[in-house]
């Protein structure tokens, strides 16, 4: 029956001079904006979609201690998940669409699509430079996302246990039918290093905008990765390589103190632009830890440029490198200076470390009163780490820093007070490793922390 009908229809079509010959008629795109990714332009366009690409997980910063919330503000948070997260609850900290998990893995998927399609494109010589750049950007994007997940949802890296510690799900294919599961921590970091090392090779030395990755950005990220792996020699190596290409610093003396957001966006320190945002850490809610605020010297320009005094004499943060009410979470040269100083100090090269710190502080202190710091009475490393905290607050780095410092035995514990209830996060509490969202556990083979 079906066959007969088919034949008759074919006859009808032949009568109308059209069978499979209609292809040109039917090959027209239904929407002119639709494209199957097949050119370098298409792939670059995917990577330039900053509205998605720019976001980093904010959950680490929300959990950290650069800020606090008053009971009143905590009560006024709209999401119960955010309230629970603030007090480090084990459950109920994610909505059913956990953005903190989605942001990095969406970028990883995007990067995988680009990498897969690039491999299929045989580039002629003219395009080689662009091909390389796009490949570098995609690898960089993927590595950055992997690292941000590893720093939040895994233990701090320890070379002795990395083969047994749970790492993160590593997805290197855009095939969503593959089931996710967790790698070891060593595999995770090896993948990040591998991607970044390749990205360094592919990326150009400069990019047209901080929304695009460049070689110095990849080197900075490599340095950051080694830092959190405790490999200070390699961290130093890559920080220096980065600064050899870009060592610009912004002189805070030139900034307008009274401006609502004094730090200009896309300024010369920014190596790579990205953003973290979440209701608890919004500058209108988050109050800066008073001990931290008081630790700034009056000659320290950051004291006035970073903080705004509230009517209740608490302080909120206005020093975002986004120059607005969202928080910068990308890469900037100031972090690289501080990594270099830290590694030099850890490797015993105090003079160099100090010179490095002074180079940064010169741009942070009131010029007229600035005196280069000499070898301190106490530990130089502590001093560098103190400035690391003062310089890099509200950038998503405090949480992984606490984890790595506690691994070194610094015993940093955190405390929150809400409604006369005190919540404590003891040093080396397993809760420093955030639980993986339930929705991930139910739909994959991923194992909970």
């Amino acid at each position: 029956m079906k066959k007969t009908i088919n034949r008759l229809i074919l006859l009808a079509m032949t009568l109308a001079f059209c069978n499979y010959g209609c292809d040109p008629f039917l090959d027209v795109k239904p929407n002119k904006k639709l494209v199957i990714p097949q050119s370098l332009d298409d792939l670059q366009a995917l990577l330039d979609y900053y509205p998605n690409i720019q976001f980093d997980p904010a959950i680490g910063e929300v959990s950290a201690d650069d800020y606090y919330l008053t009971t009143e503000i905590w009560n006024g948070l709209f999401s119960e998940n955010d309230r629970q997260l603030y007090i480090w609850a084990d459950h109920g900290i994610y909505s059913t669409a956990p953005l903190d998990w989605i942001y990095p893995y969406r970028n990883i998927y995007q990067a995988n699509v680009v990498i897969e399609n690039l491999s299929a494109l045989t580039s002629d010589l003219d395009d080689l430079e662009r091909w390389n750049s796009i490949m570098g950007q995609a690898l960089f994007l993927r590595a950055r996302a992997f690292l941000s997940v590893a720093l939040i949802w895994s233990k701090p890296y320890n070379a002795n246990t990395a083969d047994t510690d749970l790492g993160i799900p590593i997805r290197l294919s855009s095939d969503f039918n593959l089931i996710s599961n967790r790698s070891t921590l060593r595999e995770s970091y090896n993948q990040i290093l591998k991607d970044l090392q390749a990205a360094v090779e592919y990326l150009p030395s400069t990019a047209i905008h901080p929304y695009r990755a460049s070689k110095p950005a990849a080197l900075a990220l490599l340095a950051r990765t080694y830092l959190y792996m405790g490999d200070y020699a390699n961290c130093l190596l890559h920080a220096e390589a980065c600064l050899a290409l870009r060592d610009d610093l912004l002189d805070y003396n030139t900034l307008e103190k009274s401006a609502t957001y004094p730090i200009p966006e896309f300024n010369q320190e920014i190596l790579y632009q990205s953003t973290q945002s979440s209701p608890p850490i919004a500058p209108s809610r988050a109050k800066i830890d008073s001990t931290l605020y008081n630790s700034y010297n009056d000659n320290d320009l950051r004291k006035t440029l970073f903080f705004r005094e509230n009517s209740d004499s608490s302080h909120s943060f206005k020093g975002s490198y986004n120059s607005g009410n969202t928080l910068f979470s990308g890469l900037a040269t100031d972090e690289v200076y501080l990594m270099r100083a830290e590694c030099l100090a850890r490797l015993g090269e105090y003079e160099k470390a100090l010179a490095n710190l002074n180079a940064l502080l010169e741009k942070r202190m009131v010029t007229e009163t600035f005196q280069p710091i000499g070898i301190p009475d106490g530990s130089l490393l502590d001093l560098i780490l103190e400035h690391r905290r003062k310089e890099l607050l509200m950038r998503g780095l405090r949480w992984p820093d606490i984890k790595r410092f506690n691994q070194e035995g610094l015993n940093i514990g955190l405390t929150r007070v809400i409604d006369q209830n005190t919540y404590e996060l003891l040093p080396n509490s397993p809760r420093f490793i955030l639980p993986i969202p339930d929705i991930v556990l139910t739909l994959s083979d991923v194992q909970q922390n």
Binding site: I5, D27, V28, N31, I36, P37, G76, A97, V440
Partner: protein
């Protein structure tokens, strides 16, 4: 027993040449004396059959007499004749009485007599349609059609909510409206372009035969609209119809909104808890309500407590709904005028019409529509025919006042006008006390005045639509015809929204981008003046169809076939742009910088000036081939076969997957034409059945990764940006849907009662549905996969009765009853079943739980209110729980959920009556929808806290306040801090689900036919005056919460309208 069959046999003796003739000769004519071609004459002795030729004559071999013969013809009563001689017979057949009048069903490709149809059709003539008065035609269907339901809650911008026999897919984005055919071609313009006065009839195609005729887009059924046309050799007639419709002022006070006093109480509670105090420091200066501002003043000791109380009690008297109703809404007024002339000569048949509609809505928005149509058929020769028609529509609509909507964010006590009639500013984006001090008068007024905003911002939309249809037919032999048809449709729309300099939008934009410097200088990055948004879109569709029709009769065999192919190409293009600093008097505009960002005056963040530039370009192409064969044996046995292959320009799909085969088979048996059929009760009895298969691919899903370019480039890198819109999904296959339909048509003797009963069964396999995705894959939410199977069943019953009471009072009643119920047979779901998977929102949504209807009503099990706190209690794992996050999240299992039933009507239909006495007639239709549930609205504390007013429900004053209250109320207490999952749980719990069953009187129509045989009306052929009431009211509803379940608690049901009109025919 009364016999309505009448037979006249006139026997005329002719000179007899031979004594005994083996052949009987005769002629068959209708009552007017016209010869009937194709009538069948059957010898009862041997079932030999002969047919009349084009002169109505026949010859039948008869061996012996006496004998009986049966003479039958489509649309006529059968004549049973006893033959006692070989004399030439003169037989007159009488048409089936008026109600049984033979209906020609139009499938859009061909017209078939209903007697030969086997599919599921519903036919609605213009007389029935015109019992209602409306600007459009489709809204009239629900009250008169069989098996059609309009879903009013789930409708989106493009979804008209028309449903025929449920859904065939579980895919959320799929089109669910039936395909609309206007005069033989799919209609894609604005459906309001069609002038209802031009419509001759409408046929619904409900079963699989519809899909196999019209292809993959017909999976939801087909609505075939045929417009009026003249006929050959018809005297010229002129028709005029005019009516005016007045609508009541909508009753806004029906919104279950909190009173002003209650809202103040809630606000005081929040203020005591220092809610949003931190927002006073926020750089974005978020707005506070007037009550909050007052409480701040009291707290800061600026105003004394007594004065605050006095002012609060004054504020509490404000009534936003009342003011809106009084000052914004008015009675609507619609006028409609239509005229047409039709006629025909030997070679020509023509129809010309014109229509004008002018509508003014309750919010003073206007809609003007002009319709012109012209149709002509020219038959120069018996074998040749040319058709030309043109439909033209021009419409213009101008926006009116802003409707009240809970989402405007205004507290219920807000006033929009003061006692002396001056417009008042209402809360908007920024804090009033901040705006008052800003800019030392250098800024434009930053207040929003809803009362007068419409004076300064207007949207004007004009639409031009033309459909040109040409066709030629060549009939070389009587039984074969070649048709070629071409149709071109072009619709152009232009939308202009002008925000004048005084409008809020324009003032707001200018202010946002103003830079105030300390020295008192001022810079406008957006130039002062109006803002003009211009949008154009055009739709152009070419259709070309070639068709070969045959109609062959030999002996008792009749074979009608249709073979054809068609091409269709539709192009949509559009552009939008915005001009700033626009001056409508001399058409000048200002320049702006779209490349750089500017500081927002209030937040100081750098933002781009919102430009609104956009271009679209869409192309839809279809190629189809189709075949349709209908074989009839002796008007008793019917067999139809039809098939169609469709291809379209799906993107990213292999050629083979572009082609789609649909087919159907139908069988029918006209039992009443059997010689053995001698029922004393029944006049007509027919059984028919169809079975068909259709397949579907989701146009938006493809086998490769596709990306879509963003309209604007990245302003940072100045390069194009693109987003992945489709993920490579090679595992997708066709959806397969099988549908069967079995029906019985019957008519009692003397036509007291006739009708049909149809059963249908639908089975869908490999249906698309969203499969939840692990977010680690990088895909958020879900992805479409072939994950489901579905079974749907139902029936449509149509019963019509005609009865004449004494004194010649005539009553005709039609009962339409439909039942539809489907069941998800299987649905792939991993253990992701969060509470919200089952329980979502107010409007019916696809729930997709195995063993339950697609649109099911589930709710959280209710455990009452906690006697100590007034917290709602739910269930988790069978035990009472207040872990709202787990209840509404992943903690919930199917056992914690209550299943109520279907969320869409399972039984629905209408009961239409027409009663006439002398010149008066009255008709009305009662609509009913039964067997389903809806979710009522309630207080949403989260929305109160967020100043998001969709949840300001009046049941706030019934909330739990003191221990013991739980005995009287289910409304949870107000607590601080609020847990939005607690609200979610309560609003989606058992106590909020109500029965949605209801019966409403849809319309009543009175008409009076004037006597035109004398007096000054003598020149008229027909004159009628009518009075019509539409949306008359709810007759009964099952719920006790006073909610019209079709619109929900926050929906505004349409008001009753009354129309008065005349219809004249010359």
């Amino acid at each position: 027993m009364k016999t309505i069959l009448k037979l006249i046999i006139i026997t005329i003796l002719l000179p007899a040449i031979t004594e005994a003739q083996p052949v009987l000769q005769g002629v068959v004519k209708d009552a007017d004396g016209n010869p009937l071609t194709g009538a069948s004459i059957r010898n009862s002795a041997n079932d030999d059959i002969e047919h009349t030729n084009e002169f109505g004559t026949f010859q039948l071999n008869i061996a012996t007499i006496p004998i009986s013969i049966f003479v039958s013809h489509v649309g006529f009563h059968r004549a049973d004749i006893d033959i006692n001689s070989y004399d030439t017979l003169h037989i007159t057949l009488f048409p089936l009485t008026n109600v049984l009048q033979e209906v020609e069903i139009s499938t859009g490709y061909q017209s078939i007599p209903k007697e030969r149809a086997v599919g599921s059709f519903d036919f609605i003539d213009s007389e029935t349609l015109n019992e209602q008065v409306s600007t459009d035609v489709l809204s009239r269907l629900e009250a008169v059609a069989n098996g059609l339901n309009i879903e009013r809650r789930a409708t989106s911008g493009t979804d008209m909510g028309i449903r025929i026999r449920g859904l065939s897919t579980l895919s959320a984005g799929a089109i669910r409206d039936p395909l609309i055919i206007l005069d033989g071609f799919p209609y894609e313009g604005d459906i309001n372009n069609i002038n209802p006065n031009d419509v001759k009839d409408i046929t619904l195609l409900k079963d699989a035969a519809a899909a196999s005729i019209w292809g993959s887009r017909a999976g939801n059924g087909v609505i075939v609209i045929t417009t009026k046309m003249g006929a050959n050799r018809q005297p010229t007639s002129f028709n005029f119809n005019a009516n005016t419709t007045v609508g009541k002022i909508p009753d806004l006070t029906k919104y279950p909104l909190m009173t002003g006093a209650d809202f103040i109480e809630a606000e005081k509670f929040l203020f005591e808890n220092r809610h949003r105090f931190s927002d006073t420091a926020a750089r974005s200066r978020p707005v506070f309500t007037p009550v909050y501002e007052l409480l701040f003043l009291q707290r800061n000791n600026i105003i004394a407590a007594q004065e605050v109380d006095r002012q609060l009690s004054n504020i509490a008297e404000g009534n936003l709904l009342k003011q809106y109703q009084q000052y914004m809404y008015d009675a609507s007024l619609n006028q409609q005028y239509a005229a047409n002339i039709q006629g025909g000569s030997d070679n020509n048949a023509w129809y010309v019409s014109a229509g004008y509609d002018r509508n003014k809505s309750a919010l003073a928005a206007t809609y003007d529509r002009w319709n012109l149509s012209f149709k002509n058929t020219y038959t120069p020769h018996r074998a040749l025919r040319f058709d030309v028609s043109m439909l033209y529509t021009l419409s213009e609509s101008v926006s009116g006042k802003t409707a009240y909507s809970p989402s405007m964010g205004l507290p219920p006590y807000t006033r929009i006008m003061d006692e002396s009639g001056n417009p008042l500013a209402v809360m908007r984006t920024y804090r009033q006390s901040f705006l008052d001090t800003l800019g030392d008068g250098r800024l434009l007024d930053w207040n929003y005045y809803p009362l007068v905003e419409d004076h300064y911002s207007k949207t004007t939309a004009s639409l031009n639509n033309a459909v040109v249809n040409t066709g030629a037919s060549y009939t070389p032999l009587p039984w074969i015809a070649l048709h070629i048809k071409y149709q071109y449709q072009q619709q152009k729309t232009e939308n202009n929204t002008l925000y004048e300099e005084q409008s809020y939008i324009a003032r707001d934009l200018v202010n946002q981008f103003t830079v105030l410097d300390a020295s008192g200088g001022i810079t406008h990055n957006v130039p002062k003046g109006g803002v003009l948004d211009v949008g154009y879109s055009s739709l152009r569709i070419h259709n070309l169809r070639g068709q070969l029709n045959t109609d062959n009769q030999w002996g008792s065999h009749n074979l009608v076939s249709l073979l054809g192919a068609e091409f269709r190409s539709g192009t949509t293009s559009g552009k939008n742009s915005r001009a700033f600093g626009y001056d409508p008097t001399n058409l000048t505009y200002g320049t702006i910088d779209l490349k750089n960002r500017f500081p927002h005056l209030i937040t100081n963040s750098n933002i781009f000036i919102p430009s609104n530039q956009d271009f679209t370009g869409l192309v839809n192409r279809f190629v189809s081939g189709f075949v349709n064969v209908a074989y009839t044996y002796d008007d008793r046995y019917l067999l139809t076969l039809s098939g169609r292959r469709d291809a379209s320009n799906l993107f990213g799909v292999n050629v083979n997957d572009k082609w789609n085969l649909l087919w159907s088979v139908g069988l029918g048996w006209n039992i009443h034409n059997e010689s053995f059929f001698t029922s004393v009760f029944l006049d007509k009895l027919k059984v028919r059945a169809t079975h068909g298969y259709s397949g579907n691919v989701d146009i938006s899903k493809s086998a490769v990764t596709t990306l879509m370019y963003n309209s604007a480039q990245s302003p940072y890198t100045n390069t194009p940006m693109a987003l992945i819109t489709q993920h490579a999904n090679p595992e997708l296959t066709w959806e397969r849907v099988n549908m069967s339909n079995v029906a019985v048509d019957f008519a009692l003797k003397d036509s007291r009662l006739h009708g049909s009963v149809e059963f249908f069964l639908k089975k869908g396999l490999d249906l698309f549905g969203p499969a939840p995705m692990d977010p680690t894959t990088g895909l958020t939410g879900s992805i479409t996969r072939n994950v489901a199977s579905l079974k749907g069943k139902g029936f449509d019953v149509e019963l019509t009765t005609d009865y004449t009471f004494p004194r010649n009072i005539k009553w005709s009643g039609t009962l339409n009853l439909s039942y539809y119920n489907d069941k998800v047979l299987s649905y792939y779901r991993d253990s992701d079943a969060t509470g919200s998977v089952f329980v979502t929102g107010g409007s019916p949504s696809m729930i997709r739980v195995e063993g339950k209807p697609i649109f099911s009503m589930f709710s959280y099990k209710w455990g009452g209110l906690d006697p100590a706190t007034g917290d709602p209690i739910g269930y988790l794992g069978g035990f009472p729980s207040m872990d709202y996050n787990a209840i509404t999240g992943l903690g919930t299992t199917i056992d914690d959920i209550v299943y109520h039933g279907s969320a869409i009507p399972t039984y629905f239909g209408s009961f239409r009556n027409a009663i006439s006495y002398r010149n008066f007639s009255i008709s009305f239709s009662v609509l009913y929808k039964l067997g389903y549930y809806f979710r009522n609205e309630g207080i949403d504390y989260a929305s109160v806290m967020r100043a998001n007013p969709t949840g300001y429900h009046q049941e706030f004053n019934e909330r739990w306040q003191n221990p013991g209250d739980q005995r009287f109320t289910n409304v949870p207490s107000m607590v601080y801090p609020n847990h939005s999952d607690r609200d979610d749980f309560y609003l989606n719990s058992e106590v909020k689900v109500k029965k949605a069953d209801h019966i409403r009187l849809q319309y009543v129509n009175f008409s009076y036919n004037f006597n035109t045989d004398k007096g000054f009306l003598k020149s008229l052929r027909n004159a009628k005056a009518y009075l019509n009431l539409t949306n008359v009211g709810m007759l009964w509803k099952a719920n006790d919460v006073g909610v019209d379940p079709e619109y929900g608690a926050y929906g505004l049901p349409p008001v009753m309208t009354g129309s008065l009109g005349v219809q004249l025919t010359f």
